[in-house]
């Protein structure tokens, strides 16, 4: 029963946002906002783009500081299986349980990450897929955790849940920056975290975090709730609906 909790969380989050966002901007070197903090998955949902924009103080010496944006979805656990050839057939022979993998991950930056910050800082801030820490339990004689980790990245990138490259943050002015966050149709629901780091001369000079909620609304949400909360009734309804539709078609064709 994850859904009711998510609903409440979205409410609390949006209410809190109204107070939190403006007061901070005045004293910190970084001010950002998202075009929307709630992505609503409606029946016609086919993915969307969010605009993240803000202003940043230039670094010392007037050089514009770099902006790195990290969007990460709720952490989850999953199992990955590996096929191997056994007597000519390709069958699942090994598996690994992975904990702590975000359901969604994207990074955007003004410049390539290696030019923005030293590896130690990137590691500390957890920027980039290759620096994510997962708990991987391998049960496989033919592949190690490194192989499973790489497989997770490939599979999630193929599903569009992980970004396959670093997106760009553009600068329309000396202090202003903006980037578009693409949200694919396959996006999982949950509370997301959008972190914005301001880095100058390889040093972190400011960070801000803003939440993002992805939730189902409308008919789709109602059907989903029904299917999970009253599964028996939903099953019955599905059968009756299908039978009626089939019968209706037969009746129409007899007339025609």
């Amino acid at each position: 029963m994850r859904r009711p909790r998510l609903r409440i969380a979205v409410g609390v989050l949006l209410a809190g946002l109204a107070f939190a966002a403006p007061s901070r901007a005045a004293e910190e070197p970084l001010a950002v906002d998202l075009s929307r903090h709630l992505v609503e998955i409606t029946t016609g949902f086919s993915g969307t783009d969010l605009l993240l924009f803000g202003a940043a103080e230039p670094g010392r010496g007037g050089e514009p500081a770099d902006v790195v944006v990290v969007v990460s979805g709720p952490e989850d656990s999953t199992t990955i299986r590996r096929k191997d050839s056994v007597a000519g057939l390709w069958i699942n022979t090994g598996s690994a349980r992975i904990k702590g993998a975000p359901a969604f991950y994207r990074v955007a930056s003004t410049r390539p990450l290696e030019q923005v910050a030293p590896p130690a800082l990137l590691q500390k801030l957890g920027i980039g897929l290759e620096r994510q820490k997962f708990d991987i339990r391998v049960e496989d004689d033919g592949a190690n955790s490194t192989a499973y980790r790489a497989a997770l990245m490939r599979l999630m990138q193929a599903r569009g849940q992980y970004g396959d490259r670093i997106a760009t943050v553009t600068r329309p002015g000396r202090r202003l920056f903006r980037t578009e966050i693409h949200v694919p149709a396959t996006v999982p629901v949950g509370i997301y975290k959008v972190e914005i780091h301001l880095i100058a001369q390889g040093r972190l000079i400011g960070s801000q975090e803003t939440p993002l909620a992805v939730d189902r609304v409308g008919l789709g949400a109602a059907i989903h709730d029904f299917a999970y909360r009253q599964a028996g009734l939903y099953g019955l309804a599905s059968v009756v609906l299908a039978a009626c539709a089939g019968w209706l078609a037969a009746w129409m064709f007899r007339k025609g």
Binding site: T78, K83, M156, P188, H224, A227, G235, A245, A250, F253
Partner: protein, 310 residues
């Protein structure tokens, strides 16, 4: 036009799903079989999670079989007594099948078992149907009279089974145990493979029970309606894998397709129908076998989507 599927949790093009439903419906009307064994793989190919493809597939077959079954019923092509015994067996079988499914999934080899049973069952039955109908066509061309297909088999042990019942519509006097066992087997196959089971049921009725081809189509559709209804209900309550939005779009296309299928099927000869269905069944079996034998492009797979509700 894109539409979001609330249970599959993905966005699809409505017209692609309509076309898939229409094609499957056409086949099921044409053959009295041929829904699920193509629908489930097609949905998986479109990116629908396999579990949802199986659950929703059974729901779609309910609808396409209802319209087909009703069309056959009006023609008087349903053996009611035979159908009821098959259904009884089918309900028991689909219950057993769901239990077996859970056990296999825990062992982690459900994918292999599904693919393997598709290859063995579809390959065997498809091959049998093609050779039988080709032989029948050759005999006819050679000038020999159309030999009654099934009744020529020696049926010693079958005739000795107890609980004999007269099936007037099928012109048979056989043990009720036989259709009950066929029903159980088809019910199990239906639950495990996410199919209606017509591709097993139809040959079993023709070759094993010895039913006349005219009542086979109607009676099999009649049985499939109830067995897939039971499977849909079980999938929805136990696995939450029935996507009613996806099913209804498939049904819309499928219901229309089935009507055309029944009409075209009425114009084709039995041997031609069997040969066509046999070829189709064989093609799917070969495709699945090749997938099992060739090294996969990606040996790793996600057992469950990250962030999906399980």
């Amino acid at each position: 036009m894109q539409i979001y599927l609330p249970i599959a949790e993905m966005s699809v093009n409505v017209f692609v799903i309509l076309a898939v439903g229409g094609g499957i419906g056409f086949l099921s009307g044409l053959f009295g079989a041929g829904g699920g064994f193509l629908l489930t793989p097609l949905l998986i190919f479109l990116g629908v999670p396999p579990a949802v493809a199986v659950g929703t597939g059974t729901n779609q077959i309910v609808a396409s079989s209802v319209s087909g079954a009703l069309a056959q019923w009006r023609r008087g092509n349903v053996d009611l007594r035979m159908g009821l015994i098959l259904i009884l067996g089918g309900l028991v079988g689909s219950g057993l099948g769901v239990m077996l499914f859970h056990w296999l999934r825990r062992l982690g080899h459900i994918d292999l078992v599904i693919s393997g049973s598709y290859v063995v069952l579809l390959g065997g039955i498809g091959g049998l149907m093609v050779t039988e109908s080709v032989r029948a066509l050759l005999r006819r061309r050679a000038g020999g009279g159309a030999e009654p297909m099934a009744r020529r088999h020696a049926r010693g042990w079958i005739d000795r089974l107890p609980l004999k019942v007269r099936f007037r519509r099928s012109q048979l006097y056989i043990s009720a145990l036989l259709p009950a066992l066929v029903g159980i087997a088809v019910g199990m196959i239906s639950a495990i493979m996410g199919v209606g089971g017509g591709f097993v049921l139809v040959p079993a009725m023709i070759y094993l029970l010895g039913m006349p081809t005219a009542v086979v189509m109607g009676t099999s559709l009649f049985q499939i309606v109830f067995v897939t209804a039971n499977a849909t209900f079980l999938h929805a309550t136990i696995n939450h894998t029935v996507d009613v939005v996806l099913a209804l779009v498939l049904v819309l296309g499928g219901a229309i397709g089935a009507q055309f299928g029944v009409r075209v099927g009425a114009r084709l000869k039995g041997e031609h129908l069997r040969a066509l269905l046999g070829l189709l069944v064989l093609a799917v079996a070969v495709k699945l076998l090749v997938d099992l034998l060739l090294p996969p492009a990606e040996p790793f797979s996600l057992a469950a989507a990250v962030g999906a509700i399980r």
